[in-house]
């Protein structure tokens, strides 16, 4: 097996899916000749040609809107939005159309498309390049939201997303793109969407984190009897794995870099409060970004949940 970073693993997933299924077509800004600004689609233009790796004009609404039409017509478009912070022009297409074409046409038309986009903070990039607004999209019934946490699961999740019968937003944590290498097998394997994984077993406290925060949490919990859950799919959320863990540990900490208020941590906390409150020994603690726009590089370290804040939350809940 080969050691790949996340960029290479996603590239491999795209290449194999395109070879397997000629309905799979890529489109987006700079995905072709340039191979994507993070090089995720590198080599695919050369291998599959300009009709399957399509450089579009600078038009996010047209990229996602066209993907809806392409998908309805029978293709399997994989659209790229260059950064999550630029997706808002396409919000209407995702929310009003991709998410509900199946509902509105009573199943006559569907939108089996994937929108891939880099997301998250910590790469010292300009404004709008470090957004983490996953909660907006989890509030869109009809759209699945996936966040890989490493090269191996990135490949398996993306293959599953491309084969999924409905629209999937695939959020790629930019900070993890080249951070670690893992063994990533060639050939087909899919990881089921909507299924979390236990990233680290433990007994005293459950910690939920995704994207680049997962990596930070894994370091922060060293020395604690903490069970770490990597949801991988944020919507639909794997409540079963979450509840099983919380029923065992009796404590929950959720860590996300998005602003606290109405972040996904609120939904996770509410689920546990509703389904497992009698198993809780202490308060549910959310460690999140503050309720401010994501700041630029000079303040980003003060914005992101720090290892110290994560450990303080663990210490607090473990007092109960």
């Amino acid at each position: 097996m080969t050691q790949l970073n996340m960029v290479q693993a996603i590239n491999l997933a795209l290449r194999e899916e395109m070879a397997r299924d000629d309905r799979v077509v890529l489109l987006g800004e700079d995905v072709g000749r340039d191979g994507g600004v993070f090089r995720v689609t590198e080599g695919l233009f050369e291998e599959f040609g300009p009709e399957r790796v399509i450089d579009t004009p600078l038009s996010e609404s047209a990229i996602v809107g066209a993907a809806v039409g392409m998908a309805a017509y029978g293709l399997r478009p994989v659209a790229e939005i260059q950064f999550l912070g630029f997706i808002y022009a396409a919000f209407d297409q995702l929310f009003t159309h991709a998410a509900r074409i199946r509902t509105r046409s009573r199943g006559r038309f569907t939108a089996p498309l994937v929108v891939r986009t880099p997301y998250g903070a910590g790469i010292k990039a300009p404004e709008l390049h470090e957004e983490s607004t996953e909660a907006f999209f989890c509030h869109m019934p009809g759209v699945k939201v996936v966040v890989p946490s490493g090269p191996y699961n990135a490949k398996g999740l993306l293959m599953a997303a491309i084969r999924d019968p409905d629209p999937v937003l695939f959020l790629e944590p930019t900070r993890l793109y080249r951070m670690v290498k893992e063994e990533v097998p060639e050939g087909e394997y899919t990881l089921p969407l909507g299924k979390a994984r236990i990233a680290r077993p433990g007994g005293a406290v459950t910690v939920v984190a995704w994207g680049s925060m997962l990596q930070r949490v894994m370091k922060a919990v060293e020395g604690y009897d903490a069970e770490v859950i990597d949801p991988m799919t944020l919507s639909p959320f794997d409540g079963e794995t979450l509840l099983d863990s919380v029923k065992k540990t009796g404590r929950l900490v959720v860590v996300h870099e998005a602003p606290l208020t109405c972040g996904l941590g609120a939904e996770i906390a509410a689920t546990v409060a509703q389904e497992a409150i009698l198993h809780l020994r202490g308060p549910i603690i959310r460690v999140a970004g503050p309720d401010v726009p994501v700041p630029l590089a000079k303040l980003i370290d003060h914005y992101l949940p720090s290892p110290e804040r994560i450990r303080a939350a663990l210490d607090e809940v473990l007092q109960y």
Binding site: R33, T56, P57, A89, H129, P293
Partner: protein, 353 residues
Amino acid sequence: MPESILATFTVKRLEIIAPDGTADESLVPDLSGDELRRIYYLLLLTRAFDGRALALQREGRIGTYPSVLGQEAAQVGSAFAIHERDWVFPSFREMGAHLTLGYPLHQLYQYWGGDERGLRTPDGMNIFPICVSVGTHIPHAAGAALAAKLRGDRIAVIAYFGDGGTSKGDFHEGFNLAGVMGLPTVFICQNNQWAISVPLSAQTASRSLAQKAVAYGFDGIQVDGNDVLAVYRATREALEKARGGGGPTFIECLTYRMSDHTTSDDASRYRSPEETEQWRERDPILRYERFLAKRGLWNEDYAAEMKGKAGGEIDEAVRRYESVPPPAPGEMFDFVSGELSARQQRQREEASP
């Protein structure tokens, strides 16, 4: 009934200075020698600002930076025509316009250095913060122009954007609003022919970008964007028309992005060095030097003196930028709302050690 021709249109192109520096005297704007030399200095200052920014980025002293190399004339020439009372909505690659308008240089370095405080436009300057999300600020210009019209203020509102921006829905919506309401807007496209790796030919099937204005019911003109006087003349005329109630104008400045898209980009992956080399021969500063020389306003000594002066101004801006203490964590909160919620106040306290 036979088919008939409903409409035909023409698109003007304006160039004043030939590559050898000779000029069409009937079109040379009535600027004094001092003003012509001031433009030259601003071109040099833009290039010096840009070169230093690239060097600072390489040394890790600022973050990702989008170079304006090659576009100096399109930016200085247009901004030189703007009055203090006019409003300007820039995108992210018009630092030459910023410094022509008097925006503090150290604040530009500060912004690209990852410090929001660089976006705080000094009082009395009507320049909106740099817009990174392509084309999304075009409707703002229409809105500000609508407000000025409702107030009866005889000012113009300028939006700057690139060729990529013309593919955005907001371009259409802002243009349409300005056209249908006859708003005092001047839309200035820096057509540098590349949107990261996508060339103009893959961005639009139009023969020119200027002609897009026709569909919105107002004038569009293409100017040689490397001819600072053509850009100035077209912009001044459009601004005067707008201030006088004549409605919007779209100016396409045809220029070239000599550098990578940003310091994170590598243009050699998608375009030939020969193409860039061709444009190097059309350098806007070189052309303007030849023009000035023919008028007795330029020689090598003068150039060296002005370059030295520009370099000194840049040195001072960098020194000022780097002597500003880093922002305090609490500053993340200070301008989120007029009044912070109780939760935000608590978060602010927690963030401030």
